[in-house]
């Protein structure tokens, strides 16, 4: 896992900004009472209400941690994220993090990366791309349409794909189709082994893992498993990983051993079955 990860803190922060960065994504900035480090791929558990409302905190990848400000990108999908979108400047948010296993930190021997971020899978890989500006990396983001893409956050290293091309702003380019299609095109253009890093919907992760496996490349994927605690105590977030136990597999907590996993260690079949057969 490389060097020790930064100490996790449980801190009460104050919202300094909470605004859309695209039609589907919002950015939340929280000012914390002290600096907290993180490594790209790590997440924080956000306590969005006092006791009496949400029973659990919600996990969000850390998008950036700049001085005492920690930032997140999120999409409203349910009760917690709806409350999150209603947060106003000055509102309190308890923030427990950084937590979990980050994406690999590249060294001189690491092949150039193929980064595949789908939708709300952007934050950890954006953070990774910001932390490791290596010229040969191929960095891709896939959105629903032009409006869904947070263009202002994506510098020109980013290749963008969209399901539907409408809303792409003038002067920016987007491949029409899946982000894996974009990746295939890019790989054809840029030869050689790659470290594949993926975060996004399950089909994207599966495709990324297959692409790497077929070529014998290393691959890390970040899983979004539902979480109770985020710090390893409830066992509500497990995913099956291959092991040399009798059974051939064991449960790994995705909050501690993940959320970033070596794709080759995941038991993808069992993962599909235990997750309602998600493709």
């Amino acid at each position: 896992m490389g060097p020790v990860t930064p100490t996790p803190w449980d801190l009460t922060g104050r919202v300094t900004a909470n605004e859309p960065v695209s039609t589907g994504l919002l950015r939340l900035d929280v000012a914390l009472p002290r600096t907290v480090g993180f490594r790209p791929g790590q997440f924080a558990m956000l306590n969005l209400t006092g006791p009496g409302q949400l029973v659990f905190r919600r996990p969000f990848s850390i998008f950036a941690a700049d001085g005492e400000t920690m930032s997140f990108l999120y999409r409203v999908v349910g009760r917690g994220t709806a409350l999150m979108a209603a947060l106003r400047e000055g509102d309190a948010v308890d923030c427990l993090g950084p937590l979990g296993r980050p994406f690999l930190r590249p060294d001189a021997d690491t092949p150039p990366a193929l980064v595949l971020a789908g939708g709300v899978g952007l934050p950890p890989l954006h953070a990774w791309a910001e932390a490791h500006k290596r010229p040969d990396d191929l960095i891709c983001f896939g959105g629903r349409d032009g409006g869904d893409v947070p263009w202002s956050l994506l510098d020109d290293r980013w290749h963008v794909s969209v399901d539907r091309a409408d809303g792409v702003p003038p002067g920016r380019q987007a491949h029409e189709g899946l982000v894996t299609g974009l990746a295939t095109e890019l790989l054809a253009a840029y030869d050689g082994p790659r470290l594949v890093l993926a975060c996004g919907p399950t089909p994207l992760l599966r495709a990324a893992a297959k692409l790497a496996r077929d070529r014998g490349w290393p691959c890390e994927v970040s899983l979004e498993e539902h979480m109770g605690c985020g710090y390893g105590v409830c066992k509500g977030c497990v995913v099956p990983v291959l092991s040399d136990d009798l059974a051939g597999w064991r449960n790994a907590t995705s909050c501690e051993e993940g959320p970033v996993f070596d794709a080759a260690t995941l038991d993808w079949d069992r993962l599909g079955a235990s997750h309602g057969g998600v493709a």
């Binding site: 100490t7 006791p51 029973v55 905190r57 109770g228 409830c234």
Partner: protein, 309 residues
């Protein structure tokens, strides 16, 4: 927070229960703080460590063999609580006594080991081996028999709802733990809990822990199917607190045995409710998941000098 005038106990002071003196009255509940080895690195500005001031960590329940638990999803948030069907995932008794218990001793975590089995007579050997390895350990205080996990047995019911079986389990464990705390943790999914507590007390346990989770079910509206693959699960969190208080009261008023209150304790106020009934200690379960410092903060808040410090 202002403490009520009737409250004069410092829950971070030693308390004697059965043959042991434990370092406090606010504990963490089984299954909600893993083995007591997680979260040590987490920091906060108010309470140093999640373990500060805690009287005991009750470990995740350990079974004779390792278990990988139930299929996912197995922990689902509901409106006023959570429902789980973890299925007693644990490393198994052998690995626990060899690797985990010594690590807890070394770290100085006040520990109560939760045990479960599918037959009463399995408790004897497990306790015997624990006592062997734990001989001389000062931070290992005892054993909590989980007689109540509704997730494992068929249909969600369990052998912990018969006074005779409860007594058998306690009797199997007791001889191996002459100088350790022996707690029987009971299920609330019975018409009357006092007879179970009385049976456990008579068979020699030092205290009753109540309650374990309440049998519950929720539906995923989109599919119309239960949210858990096994339909039923254990309901926990703030919603079950009044039920837990009722069960604790029933035991305290009908059976002369120390009671450790569990169920929906989220805040210092909630803990006080259980102490008001006469509970000797309390355990924090689901709330510990939202906040690693839940128990530690409660302990700090309930010190009679808390308001002035």
């Amino acid at each position: 927070m202002t403490l009520p005038i009737w409250w004069r106990t410092d829950p971070t002071q030693p308390v004697r229960i059965g043959p042991r003196e434990l370092p406090g009255r606010i504990w963490t509940a089984s299954g909600c703080f893993a083995y007591g080895l997680s979260g040590h690195d987490i920091r906060s500005l108010d309470v140093g460590s999640p373990y500060a001031g805690i009287g005991a960590v009750v470990t995740k329940t350990v079974t004779p063999q390792p278990r990988s638990g139930n299929p996912m999803p197995r922990l689902v948030e509901l409106e006023h609580g959570a429902i789980n069907s973890i299925g007693l995932e644990n490393v198994g008794h052998a690995e626990f006594v060899e690797a985990v218990l010594p690590a807890l001793e070394e770290r100085g975590v006040p520990t109560v080991v939760s045990l479960a089995a599918t037959r009463p007579d399995e408790f004897g050997p497990m306790c015997e081996r624990l006592a062997e390895v734990g001989r001389g350990f000062v931070h290992w205080h005892g054993v909590e028999l989980n007689l109540s996990c509704p997730n494992v047995a068929e249909g969600g019911h369990d052998f912990g709802s018969s006074p005779a079986t409860v007594a058998e389990c306690v009797a199997a464990a007791r001889p191996h733990l002459p100088d350790r705390l022996l707690i029987a943790k009971l299920t609330p999914n019975v018409a009357q809990i006092a007879p179970l507590a009385a049976a456990a007390a008579e068979a020699g346990c030092d205290a009753i822990a109540a309650i374990n989770t309440v049998l519950g079910l929720d539906i995923d509206l989109e599919t119309g199917q239960p949210v858990l693959p096994r339909r039923f699960g254990g309901y926990s969190g703030p919603a079950i607190r009044p039920i837990a208080l009722a069960k604790c009261d029933e035991i305290i008023r009908q059976v002369g045995v120390p009671v450790i209150g569990i169920g929906g304790i989220e805040t210092a106020d909630d803990a006080l409710r259980f102490f008001a009934l006469g509970c000797a200690a309390v355990q924090v379960g689901t709330a510990q998941m939202r906040d690693p410092f839940a128990a530690a903060r409660m302990a700090a808040a309930l010190r009679p000098d808390a308001a002035t410090t």
